[in-house]
Amino acid sequence: MHVHFTDQYRSGSSLVHRLDPRIKVLCTLAFILTAALLPPGEWIHYGLLLIVPLLGVVVAGIGPGYLLKRSFIALPFALAAITLPFTVPGPQVTLPILGLTVSIEGAVRFVSIVLKSWISVQMAILLVTTTTFPDLLWGLRALHVPRVLVSVVGLMYRYIFVLADEATRLMRARAARSGEVEGHQSGGGIAWRGRVAGGMVGSLALRSFERSERIYDAMVARGYTGEIRHFAPPALSADDYTILVTLLAYLALVLATGLLFAR
């Protein structure tokens, strides 16, 4: 019984797959930064940015549909900006559909934020779809993200599956004993069911705690003294540098023109 729900990686041997994880992380960060810095309402520039992840999926042989399907996970977060159309001062229009009055300036900003986050998420999805998780981890480490943080993420990735399996087992055990008898109301009261569920969560937490102790023992048994050691990262290839420089130059151009021609 295995749970695979977080594995986004799709294997391949394209140029995008082969790029050094460090380069991919750097490109993704630079891309998201550019998107964030572009002024609102620069629709053409957003289009120029969108070309990058789309080109990426085509080269990686994944297909734009895959990216598109997953890219909407960011939308609920972008809704945090939903107040902008109603709070930003300036000329206003009344929407024909709901009869709401919104400020044009605010609406432009809101749509820009939604678009920019949607485009940024596509780049991030491209990164995790073409990079294995272990590669991503050493990429982050090589870029001097604090080691403890990377280790925590690594252990989380390793044990989230184990934990999910354990949770599934607990729920199966509950389901297997959730019988019904004719003439009796089954299911119990809501307070009782809440208590059962709470007990399961507690038992899962307790098991995880005990497991963490055993994992620590297993690390200590193999010489762990508080510092996690890793291999030195390999050298970057010519392809890596070419892609990095090309993409950074492109992003700089998009950002510079976007700022210059801002309304």
Binding site: P134, G154, R158, I215, A221, G223, T225, R229, H230, A232
Partner: protein, 242 residues
């Protein structure tokens, strides 16, 4: 010549007051293969955790002649390859390769040699093609083999395995038995699998209530039904008994 393992009058209580070891004495000579049997809660796992300095009790523990002091701890841990019962505890790295490399990297072995050791250890357990795999996606038998490789890469003098055949199906268990037979290291395992003991281990020690209650040649111990029954073990039936 010193013994690989020398434990004398070892006593240990857990912080909650539970007394786990009540004066354990056990010596293992280089090259010996010893099985530790006994009921759950007898103290087998607790004893094993002492051999690596993870727990420290009262009494004397020496590994390869070295007393367990803070200064020796690193050497002792390199000499004793401790394999935990649940491979999900032992395999904590994202990939098989990184897990097998963990021990030697911590010993400060140079990287090219670490790569060699990882390749050798994985080949020794028949998992040479699995280096880049993610541990979670392995079967129980495969995980167990990788868990053994994670300590083989440290070139230990003695392998200490906690219930290695628990939870394996017959085929994986059979594979484990042939693997254990091939490994040249001194070995101490705890197990409930008496058939495995009879097949691989010339010497058996029975542990009960935190003490070693019997220690001798496997044949004579397993052929003593009263002794086995007194310590919660099942008498072995062989085809000749029918």
């Amino acid at each position: 010549m010193h013994h690989t393992i020398d434990v004398s009058d070892l006593k240990f209580s857990y912080p909650d007051g539970h007394v786990a070891l009540r004066g354990v004495t056990l010596s293992i000579a280089p090259g010996e293969k010893v099985a530790l049997v006994g009921p759950n809660g007898a103290g087998k796992s607790t004893l094993m955790l002492h051999l690596n300095g993870i727990l420290t009790g009262e009494g004397d523990v020496r590994v390869c002649g070295l007393p367990l002091t803070d200064g020796n701890l690193g050497k002792v841990r390199a000499a004793v390859g401790l394999v935990f019962q649940d491979p999900d505890d032992q395999l904590f790295s994202p990939t098989v390769f990184e897990d097998v490399a963990f021990g030697p990297l911590h010993m400060g072995v140079p990287e090219p040699e670490v790569r060699e050791r990882v390749a050798r250890a994985l080949a020794a357990v028949g998992m040479g093609d699995f280096a880049e795999r993610v541990s979670h996606h392995l079967s129980a038998g495969e995980k167990k083999r990788v868990a053994i490789a994670t300590v083989l890469s440290m070139d230990p003098e003695i392998l200490v395995l906690d219930e290695p055949s628990a939870g394996l199906d017959p085929r994986a268990r059979r594979g484990l038995i042939s693997l254990l037979r091939e490994l040249p290291q001194t070995m101490l395992i705890s197990t409930h699998d008496l058939l495995l003991v009879r097949e691989l281990f010339p010497r058996t020690a029975i542990m009960d209530h935190g003490q070693i209650v019997a220690d001798g040649p496997t044949e004579s111990i397993l052929n003593d039904p009263e002794l086995l029954e007194a310590h919660g073990l099942e008498r072995m039936w062989s085809l000749a008994d029918r």
